[in-house]
Symmetry: C2
Subunit: 351 residues, 2 copies
C-alpha cells in the first residue's frame, strides 16, 4: 500500500518523538513491502516564528492533500505567559482539528502488564484497565463564541452542542463498545449544564439502536474520582471536548506515564495521529523524551488503514522494548536509554 503522510513535528519534544515514529514507519515499509512518503509542514510556535501564523495555509493544504497526518506536540511557555498575545501555538492545533473535521479523538488507555508497577496506583486497582475514551473534538467550549473585553474587564466562552455533533461521535462510541465489553459511560455534568442535558437526551435515544450495549451516565466530578479508584469498571467513555481533555490526561496516570498514550483524531474525510502528551519544552533536545506515545499513534494509523498485521507488529516491538527494559527515564528512573536508542530498538524489532 502507498500512503502519503503529512508530518507536523511542532514544538518542544515534538520533532524528537516524531523522528522515532518515522523510523518505525520506514521499518514497516521494508518489512511489509509498503511505500510511505513523508511531507513536513509547520505548526505551532515554530510556525509562528517562521510565518507569523500557528497554522500556515500550506500546512492545511498539505494535510488535506495527504492520506493521514502524523502530529508531534506543540506549545511554548513564552506564549502561555503572555495573556495579551493575539496569536499562540495551540490555536494552530485547534484550527487544524476544525478544518479537517476531526470530530472524534479516540484515546485508548491500557495498562501494559510489564509496566503495571510503573503506575502510582496499586496493581489490583489498575491491572485490568482497558478502556477507550471517545472525546468530541471539534465542538463545545473550545469553539464557541469567545470574547475578552479589556475595557469591560470581562471575558466569555460559549459552549454549544447540536444534536448532530453529539450523535456522530455517539455512534462511533457505541460501535466500538460492540466489539469490546459492550458498555458505554457518558460523562457529563447534567445536573448543571444544558449542553450535558442535550448529550444525555441524544445519547439515550441512540442507545436504543444498540440494545446489546449498556449505557451509564456519570457526572464529571465523580468520573474523575472513578478513573483513579476503579478504572477497570470502564469500557468506552464518551464525553465532550473539555471533559475529555481532562479525563484522558488523567488516564495517563493509570498507565504510568503520559509518555505512553497515543490517540487518533478522525473525521469523515481526514485522520490525524498524535500522542496525548504535550511539547515538554524543558525536555526538548535532551534525548530523554519517551517516543512510545508517538510510536503507538503510528500503530493506530496503520490500523486505520486496515494494516492490522503491521499495527500489531509495531505494538509487539513496543512491548518487547518494555520487557527488555529498553525504556526512557520516565519509565525507569535509572534507565540510560535515550529517545533515539529506544526508537531504534523498536524500529529494529518490527518484524
Amino acid at each position: 500500500m502507498h500512503l502519503d503522510i503529512a508530518v507536523l513535528e511542532g514544538d518542544g519534544i515534538g520533532p524528537e518523538v516524531v523522528a522515532q515514529s518515522i523510523k518505525c514507519l520506514r521499518s514497516v515499509e521494508e518489512t511489509f513491502g509498503h511505500s510511505f512518503t513523508f511531507k513536513n509542514g509547520l505548526i505551532g510556535a515554530s510556525a509562528i516564528k517562521q510565518t507569523g501564523s500557528p497554522l500556515p495555509k500550506e500546512t492545511l493544504k498539505l494535510c488535506k492533500s495527504t492520506d493521514a497526518t502524523l502530529f508531534g506536540a506543540l506549545g511554548l511557555p513564552e506564549f502561555d505567559d503572555n495573556p495579551k498575545a493575539k496569536v499562540w501555538p495551540e490555536q494552530g492545533l485547534l484550527k487544524l482539528r476544525k478544518k479537517l473535521g476531526l470530530f472524534a479523538n479516540i484515546r485508548p488507555v491500557k495498562v501494559f502488564p510489564s509496566l503495571v508497577r510503573q503506575s502510582p496506583l496499586s496493581k489490583t486497582q489498575v491491572q485490568n484497565t482497558d478502556l477507550i475514551i471517545f472525546r468530541e473534538l471539534s465542538g463545545g467550549i473550545y469553539y464557541g463564541y469567545k470574547s475578552n473585553d479589556e475595557d469591560k474587564n470581562s471575558a466569555t466562552d460559549t459552549c454549544t452542542y447540536t444534536e448532530s455533533e453529539i450523535s456522530r461521535i455517539a455512534h462511533l462510541a457505541f460501535k466500538s463498545a460492540r466489539s469490546r465489553k459492550k458498555k458505554v459511560t457518558l460523562v457529563d455534568k447534567a445536573n448543571v449544564l444544558e449542553t450535558s442535558r442535550l448529550w444525555r437526551r441524544v445519547v439515550r435515544a441512540i442507545s436504543e439502536s444498540y440494545p446489546d450495549v449498556e449505557l451509564n451516565c456519570l457526572f464529571i466530578d465523580n468520573a474523575a474520582v472513578q478513573m483513579i479508584l476503579n478504572p477497570s469498571q470502564f469500557d468506552v467513555i464518551l464525553t465532550d471536548n473539555m471533559f475529555g481533555d481532562i479525563l484522558s490526561d488523567q488516564g495517563s496516570v493509570i498507565a504510568g506515564s503520559i509518555g505512553l498514550l497515543p490517540s487518533a483524531s478522525v473525521g469523515l474525510e481526514y485522520a490525524m495521529f498524535e500522542p496525548i502528551h504535550g511539547s515538554y519544552p524543558d525536555a526538548a533536545g535532551k534525548n530523554i523524551a519517551n517516543p512510545v506515545a508517538s510510536i503507538l499513534s503510528v500503530a493506530m494509523l496503520l490500523q486505520h488503514f486496515k494494516m492490522n498485521e503491521e499495527s500489531d507488529a509495531v505494538v509487539a516491538a513496543v512491548l518487547k522494548s518494555f520487557s527488555k527494559k529498553i525504556v526512557t527515564p520516565d519509565i525507569l528512573g535509572s534507565s540510560k536509554y535515550g529517545t533515539n536508542y529506544v526508537g531504534d530498538f523498536i524500529a529494529d524489532n518490527i518484524m
Copy 2:
C-alpha cells in the same frame, strides 16, 4: 457565644450525617458554654416533593436570618435520569449559593497520618499533602446564559467572568497562602479559554501585591494529573467554578475517602458549611455513611466564628476516632461501626 444556625439536611445521606454534626455542636455548646439554636429548612429533592421548588422562599429567608448554614447533601437519581425535567434538586443549591453571595468555596485536602494507608496512592506520594482549594462558586459556566432548544436540537452554556469576580477570590487565596506555604497555583485552560486568559491577567496583577507569595499557573488537564502524581507540591489552588468542582473531588482520592472532606462557602455576608460529598441515595438510611466530612465542616464553621479552640477540639475528636478505628466501612471495610456510633463517639470526645 450565641449562634443561630440554619440546618438544611437535603437528600440521601444528608439528614444522617447532619444529625451527627448537630450532636457535635451540642457537645461544643456544653463543653465550652456556648448556645446554638438550630432551625431546619427544606432544600433539594425533598423540597421539590413537598413544595414544588428546590429552594423554597422560606429556606432562603431562614439562611439569611441566621448566622450560618449547615448543609448536608442533595440530589436523587430519578431527577438525573429525566433530561426533560424543568426542576431538579441541584438548582436549589446553585440558587442558594448565588442568593447568599457565596463566591468562595474553600476545600482543604489533608492526609490524616492515621489514614495514610487508606489512600489508594502510595504513602510517599500522599503523606505530606496539605493543600487548600479556593474554588470560585458563584460565577462561570454554572451561572451564565443557558439554552436548550428542543426544536433546534441544540443547547448552550455560557461561561463569563468579570475582573471583580476573579479578584475577590484571588485576594482570599493569596491571604490564605501567606499564612501557609506561600504558594498559589492558578489552574485554568488559558491555551483555549478567554475566561482563563482573563483569570491569568487579573491574578498575575494581584500577585504583585503579595510579593512574598509565589504564583504558578497550570493547565487543568495537567493539574488533574499532578493532583494524583504529586499532591504535596501544592499549597493553595485557585480556580474557577467548573475546574474547582472536578479538582476538589479528585482531592478526595488523596485523602482516601470522599467521606472525609469538608468545605466552607463564604461571601461578604453569609457562610455555609458542607461536606464535599454528594447525597449517595444508595447508602441512605443504612447507617453506613461517613459523618466525618460533615463534622469537619462544623470545625470550619467554628473557626469561621473565631472559636479556634472549639474547632480544634472537634478535629481532635475526629482524629481520636481514626486512631481508635471507630470509623465507618468506607474507611475500614471490616468496620462494624455505623454513622450513629461514630457520631456519638466523636461528640462524646469533644473536650
